[in-house]
């Protein structure tokens, strides 16, 4: 059985954090970019033919992926390909995923008709350690047209879900809604789908021909409502992080300090791969106080940090205090500076004695390369 993968890199929704990068290349969890979770999931399921659909700001993403060797993938036709609008001039409209896919039809059509029987699609903003092999098996066993991977406990009546599903007592789908602040009993789609390639290709053409471009609304919900598609709901039991807003990103980042969540997301039997930076191990100074933190390689720690995520090569000078922060690569936090509820993007320098205090719901964000 051959399976191809598609990862949507875009839909930047995090203001300053994604002004110069895609959601896919947003750093997460100390040493990863969000796309690492998807690339690792796909590679672990033996998916080698993989397209990354990206519209804007994909330079940092291409830098990160390099030759894709870290994930055991290869660049090129039949391997990993970047599907960017400039590389595919079949259409100039990219209002939604279906139009993106339509312009990537060459990619979908690569190989013989039966080369890739199934397509797995994933979205960069939602992170999990998914066993795609199981999900593909469930799709095949169900005999349905679409498999949607879902997560319970995400719907809270406030969060707008891209796609929400409600099951009846028999486990049949009772309702589907798009862009909906669904009540708690709804399942949230993890924006991960499995379909047969032939079926998907046909539906993309049908939809786009009728000026329909929205994957969740027009393809999944629309076809299901009209009785034109059957939908298999796969309920994922593990940890799923919906990093769709700064608030969620911040909360999910700090939740990695919980052992159960961390071990679930970085499963030992199913590692998450990322680009290697060859930093030295982190050095903890004579008088540092590091408590309840996740610390990546190459840090130089002489001050205090508590309840925080420290990415690679972070320097915390003597007397500095960092609490409830997400500190990305190469930050230097000067002597006696004090940071609380702050997200420092890459390469930020905080001057000695500076004080930055945000709140849990509204962390202060300092953009890449910034100086405080």
């Amino acid at each position: 059985m051959n399976v191809m993968g598609i990862i949507f890199a875009n839909d930047a929704t995090m203001g300053d954090l994604t002004s110069k990068r895609t959601m896919a290349s947003l750093p997460f969890g100390g040493r990863y970019r969000q796309i690492d979770f998807h690339l690792s999931n796909m590679a672990a399921a033996g998916i080698r033919h993989l397209g990354i659909i990206s519209r804007h700001n994909y330079q940092s993403l291409m830098n990160h992926i390099g030759d894709a060797e870290e994930w055991g993938l290869e660049l090129g036709e039949g391997g990993l390909e970047f599907l960017t609008p400039y590389a595919m001039s079949t259409t100039d409209r990219y209002r939604g995923k279906l139009e993106n896919l339509f312009s990537a039809m060459d990619f979908l059509e690569y190989g013989s008709e039966d080369e890739d029987e199934y397509v797995v699609m994933a979205d960069s903003a939602i992170l999990s350690n998914l066993d795609l092999t199981k999900i593909i098996a469930s799709h095949i066993e169900s005999g349905k047209d679409i498999t949607v991977v879902t997560k319970s406990g995400i719907a809270n009546g406030k969060k707008l879900l891209d796609l929400a599903l409600k099951l009846d007592q028999d486990g049949e789908i009772a309702d589907m809604a798009v862009n909906y602040a669904a009540p708690e009993e709804y399942l949230a789609s993890m924006d991960t789908f499995v379909m047969s390639k032939q079926w998907l290709k046909k539906q993309i053409k049908e939809c786009v021909a009728r000026d329909k471009y929205h994957m969740d609304r027009d393809l999944v919900m629309g076809l299901w409502q009209r009785g034109l598609a059957t939908v298999n709901v796969y309920q994922f039991e593990g940890v799923a992080m919906f990093n769709e807003s700064v608030e969620e990103y911040f909360r999910n980042s700090l939740s990695l300090l919980d052992k159960k969540i961390r071990h679930d997301l970085f499963g030992r039997n199913h590692p998450v791969y990322t680009k290697v930076r060859d930093r030295v191990p982190s050095y903890y100074g004579e008088d540092c106080e590091i408590e309840n933190c996740l610390v990546a390689d190459g840090c130089f720690l002489e001050g205090e940090a508590e309840d925080s995520i420290l990415f690679r090569q972070v320097t915390i000078c003597e007397g500095a205090e960092v609490e409830n922060c997400v500190i990305m690569n190469d930050a230097v936090i000067g002597k006696d500076a004090k940071l609380e509820y702050v997200i420092l993007d890459k390469n930020v320098t905080v001057s000695p004695g500076a004080v930055l205090i945000g709140t849990k719901d509204r962390p202060i964000i300092i953009q890449r390369g910034g100086r405080v």
């Binding site: 040493r31 052992k259 060859d278 030295v280 050095y283 903890y284 004579e286 408590e291 990546a296 190459g298």
Partner: protein, 396 residues
Amino acid sequence: MYFQKKRCIAMLLAGGQGSRLKVLTEKTAKPAVPFGGKYRIIDFPLSNCVNSGIDTVGILTQYQPLELNEYIGNGQPWGLNKTHSCAQVLPPYERHDKKSGWYKGTANAIYQNIDFIDRYNPEYVVILSGDHIYKMDYAAMVAFHEKNAASCTIAVRNVPLAEASRFGILNTNPDGSIYEFEEKPKHPKSTNASMGIYVFNWAVLREALIADEEDPNSSNDFGKNIIPRLLNAGHKMMAYAFDGYWKDVGTIDSLWEANMELLGKNPEFNIRGDERHKICARNSALPSSFIDEDAKIFNAFVAEGCEVYGTVRHSVISVGCTIGEDALVEDSVVMPGVVIEPGAIVRHAILGENSRVCRNAVVGGAYGENEKKKISVTSKGAVVPENTVLSPGEML
């Protein structure tokens, strides 16, 4: 098949047993012994090669090669897997004329791989050993060799006179040319110790290797045979002075010391910073390390994938280790994948890969600053059972 001609290639001697590392090299070749939290010893010469612009490295293996071969793989971590670069593992092999078999000595190992070197038709061959920790720009040494129009250049470092009789000593003229080589002299005339790093003109070395192989009394060793042979034949040989950090980590004590010398704000050997001399290693796909709220870490290296709940002082903790609640690790080298269970105490020890110190067990002892320390060692996968003691200097 055609090979791009190379000005200079390197041959890395990685086949020695390293018996003075005792239990640590029972199942592992010395160059594959973990070092500095995330490295293996061989990462240093390999990274030095790459940082010096040498992109073709033959690695001679013999003793316990599995782990080493696997570690080197296709050379990708060091960028040695490109079209015109390679990290080629060269184990002993059998050939038609019976001039083969186990590598009899360092020179014989190179002799048996003359064909490999010939493919690249190099001007110079750098001979390295896989058991030293240092950062060095071999390109500068090759340039020195070329400028002096030497046949062979040997890197030397100044050692205290009292220790000179433990080394191969090179006696030089004022211009740096070597007139005499003495292996472990009782009464050393100088303090220029050979570091076992050689640059040869390939044509000269090739000839010397063939001649040496035909001498039944030779032990086919670079220091003992090849160098004296070239000196006697009147070749121009130069000493290249190196004054950076360099450590032979061939013994338990020196391996422990070299790890400790990485620590401190201004360490004796600084592996931090300096992008041009970055040491690369094969990476394990482990997440960041978790430091618990009750953990205390002072003056220590902690690599990735660790979970620290206890206290760590003046130690090197490698990738993927767990240090349990109320455990204490002091003045120790903890190799990858070690588990130290709650309440255990580890002092002045080297814990081998994947070994385990169970609850409330005690490994090693404490010492005053100038006291002679005895390092306790656990071998790969060893288990120190609950409530037991592994005494200072004891090995398991």
